[in-house]
Symmetry: C2
Subunit: 138 residues, 2 copies
């Protein structure tokens, strides 16, 4: 490493801490696959244990997420520290279903900031939660 390069450090974030970080934020992004094309949509979410819940209108998220593999991500870069947390799992249409995941999702309280009625609930049951963090020093 050259002397004038930033001193940097990279670390994995343990799963328990990833869950804690997820609980401290409310804006993330879901990636879904629509006819072979991954797409990314920002959503306001809330956690219920390991379940990520958000509300949506009819549209791509509701049509393609349920029963499919999806990914959810939050990240931030601030004051020399960058981090990201990614949740991989399967989405569920939790609007009316009586399974445990749907109940838990409806018990969370996501607050959509985007306008428009969002009468449907989508839950993501986390199967794999990973995170990383790095520091860029002087």
């Amino acid at each position: 490493m050259k002397a004038n390069e930033p001193v940097a450090e990279l670390e994995e974030i343990p799963e328990a801490e990833c869950l804690e970080i997820l609980g401290q934020h409310s804006l993330g992004r879901i990636a879904i696959v629509v006819d072979g094309q991954p797409q990314i949509f920002p959503v306001n979410y809330a956690m219920s244990g390991r379940i990520i819940a958000f509300r949506t209108a009819a549209g791509s998220k509701l049509s393609y997420a349920p029963r499919s593999k999806v990914s959810f991500e939050i990240d931030k870069y601030d004051s020399g520290v960058g981090w990201s947390v990614m949740v991989q799992g399967v989405a569920v249409d939790a609007t009316e279903a009586f399974d445990d995941v749907s109940w838990a999702a409806r018990g969370a309280a996501p607050r959509p900031l985007a306008p428009g009625a969002k009468p449907h609930w989508v839950a993501i049951e986390a199967r794999k939660i990973t995170g990383r963090r790095f520091r860029v020093g002087a």
Copy 2:
């Protein structure tokens, strides 16, 4: 709408403005599909026309993005205005190739903040660029 609900307004962002916004930022996220599972990774990027360029080490992004459909997204929520821009396209390993896209990508100057050598260049040739913006009023 009830009287105490926030006044909100939603609009599509025209493609030309989406490109302008993309040029004003440097941190976004790429979604790639790994064995049927979409994954989201934050990347520092730079634009060259309609091409998004970023650098990476060997790993998931380099193994799965090139020649595949990918999505790239930036978003922000600040002071009552939220927006997001999504680019859909196909990724190219631009590290050594001599095609126009690879040349253009290597002419851009993404500045990775995360530590570690990132000797590979990946380009995303935008096929579809969409954006939306909303305001939440008092």
